[in-house]
């Protein structure tokens, strides 16, 4: 115990003769200077491996679906994507995803607010529960909703095979996005502004609208955009509860699935898939722009 303490004693009798401090810099061996230290993997080899990996896994299949969609010419492509059922499914997908994103913007902000600014028993458990839709397989999510809102509903509500069911499933799987994007911003938010606003006579409503909301807007928007992106491509949670009724509850993912599986028409399926792919791309670029702008404000 005491030994290390003693040996640290400066200038003790045992301490070796002090070395002149000066030469240390001067006599240093000429060390190899690594101007660009590299962690393993960022060399040309790493870049090559990553490029090949992403090309093989992600880009090759997406290229195939795009090229195959145009295999029989643009006329066939256009016929496939402009068929009544395809247009109907796409419009419904976009509208229901937009509604889900809008509802999420409100409820997600509310939940984040309560989780940050309120305090109650079991808050930690509720906070953990928010991530459940990310962890739960989508097919189980659908089954779960059917248990409460299906034919054998214990509360007598049956929404299966309706458009409400699709919305419900989308709200379930996209629940975490807005909550998780607003929560950290709300935690970091400087409360002095709110205090100033209140002391100047603003009502809580005014303070929220003019002080809090403008600060949260980028986070809410990016959370809602992520919800929308997820909703547009959703399949597993919808497929059981919606009944997939054409012109009613059929979303684009399900339509593509049916085309591919039953009618043995992969070219038409690919055409509709390309449209859905384009929608995803546009949303993804939109999210990037939003995030960049949000980052500038921060």
């Amino acid at each position: 115990m005491s030994t290390p303490l003693l040996s640290e004693g400066v200038g003790g009798p045992d301490s070796p003769p002090a070395q002149p401090a000066g030469p240390r810099g001067g006599t240093a061996r000429p060390t190899r200077v690594h101007r660009r230290a590299r962690a393993g993997g960022t060399g040309p080899l790493g870049i090559g491996v990553v490029t090949i990996w992403l090309s093989l896994i992600v880009l090759l299949p997406l290229a195939a679906v795009t090229v195959k969609a145009l295999d029989d010419g643009t006329g066939t492509f256009w016929d496939a994507v402009s068929s009544k059922q395809a247009v109907n499914a796409l419009v419904f997908t976009l509208v229901v995803s937009l509604v889900a994103a809008a509802i999420n913007a409100v409820t997600g902000t509310l939940v984040a607010w309560v989780l940050v600014r309120d305090d109650f028993k079991g808050k930690g458990a509720v906070n953990a529960l928010i991530d459940l839709p990310f962890a739960l397989p989508t097919i189980v999510a659908g089954l779960t909703l059917i248990a409460l809102y299906g034919k054998n509903s214990p509360v007598g509500i049956d929404v299966t095979y309706t458009r409400t069911a699709v919305l419900l499933a989308l709200l379930f799987v996209t629940l975490p996005f807005v909550v998780r994007s607003v929560q950290p911003v709300l935690i970091e938010l400087d409360r002095e502004m709110e205090e100033a606003s209140t002391s100047l006579g603003a009502t809580p409503g005014q303070t929220f609208r003019h002080i809090v909301l403008p600060n949260l807007r980028p986070a809410i928007l990016s959370g809602a955009a992520l919800s929308f992106a997820r909703a547009v491509g959703e399949f597993g949670s919808i497929v059981l509860i919606s009944g997939n009724v054409p012109f009613q509850t059929e979303v684009s993912s399900v339509y593509i699935f049916k085309l591919q599986e039953s009618s043995q028409n992969p070219i038409a399926a690919a055409a509709v898939a390309v449209v859905l792919l384009l929608v995803s791309l546009v949303v993804l670029i939109g999210i990037r722009v939003l995030e960049r702008r949000g980052g500038d404000h921060a």
Partner: protein, 268 residues
């Protein structure tokens, strides 16, 4: 602090909790209750039928291939994205994000159009007797695709935050790039990696859409746990569907527990 009156606060709390309960808490609770209302024995019998055991082991087998692949290459991707000096980083980042936004059905269809009967490599693969679609390799490819972004996405911000000063110091002291990675970088990013792996595992085990398209759903051969849930449900075997779901839900809850323990954003 925004002066909320007591009544406003209670109202907001009640509305938020009611929303979560109706959408999330009660349905999940009800499924668990319905599953176990006839006792654990019935559930046990239902998840230990040969079909269920095969589905479970196939699910694990796919995850056992996809997760390590996505972990190693995800870390490498994050290193290239953050530390690499290359052009077109924005494009590379967008490609990594793509699987988040694309419908799993489109993923499955795309794989069929590469490796399937009418796909680009279909004839060649058929000539050489290699089966990818409707068999394990196709399901692995689909699962790798949909779970590709998680590790890279979780590790990138951590790499950015720790900076490269320690790595440079290690290199200056003569460490090879491999030693630097192993002794300096990896220990610093390990929680980010762990979190990414947990998310990847959850996604791999729960994937349904993409796997459903490429598997052909051959009973006893290409049927994963999620596909078994769907099959039992459409065959009106509700109890069986619930039992298989409960198994998946328990895996999800374990994932959730790991997530709250590991969340890199909270463990400061």
């Amino acid at each position: 602090m925004l002066e909320q009156s007591r009544s406003t606060r209670i109202t907001l709390r009640c509305v938020a909790l009611a929303y979560l309960a109706l959408l999330l808490g009660i349905p999940v609770g009800l499924v668990l209750y319905r599953t176990f209302e006839h006792g654990v024995g019935a559930v046990w019998d239902s998840v230990t039928t040969p079909a269920a055991i095969h589905a479970f082991s196939l699910t694990l087998e796919i995850a056992a291939i996809a997760v390590p692949l996505n972990t190693v290459l995800g870390i490498l991707t994050a290193l290239v994205l953050v530390r690499g000096r290359i052009r077109g980083k924005a494009i590379l980042e967008a490609i990594v994000d793509l699987p988040f936004a694309i419908s799993p059905v489109v993923v499955g269809l795309a794989l069929i159009l590469v490796y399937g009967r009418i796909g680009w490599f279909g004839p060649w693969l058929a000539d050489h007797g290699i089966a990818i679609i409707f068999s394990l390799p196709g399901m692995v490819l689909a699962t790798v695709f949909v779970s590709l972004p998680f590790v890279a996405r979780e590790v990138s911000p951590v790499l950015r935050e720790i900076g490269d000063e320690q790595e440079q110091a290690a290199a200056t002291l003569g460490a090879s790039s491999w030693q630097t990675f192993w002794r300096v970088t990896l220990p610093a990013i390990r929680w980010g990696v762990a979190y990414g792996v947990v998310l990847t595992v959850a996604r791999c085990i729960g994937e349904f859409g993409a796997v459903s398209v490429v598997s052909g759903k051959i009973a006893g051969q290409t049927e994963t746990l999620t596909l078994l849930v769907e099959k039992r449900f459409t065959n009106f075997d509700l109890a069986g569907a619930y039992a298989a779901s409960a198994l998946l839900a328990i895996i999800a809850l374990a994932t959730l527990l790991a997530m709250t323990r590991l969340n890199p954003r909270k463990d400061h």
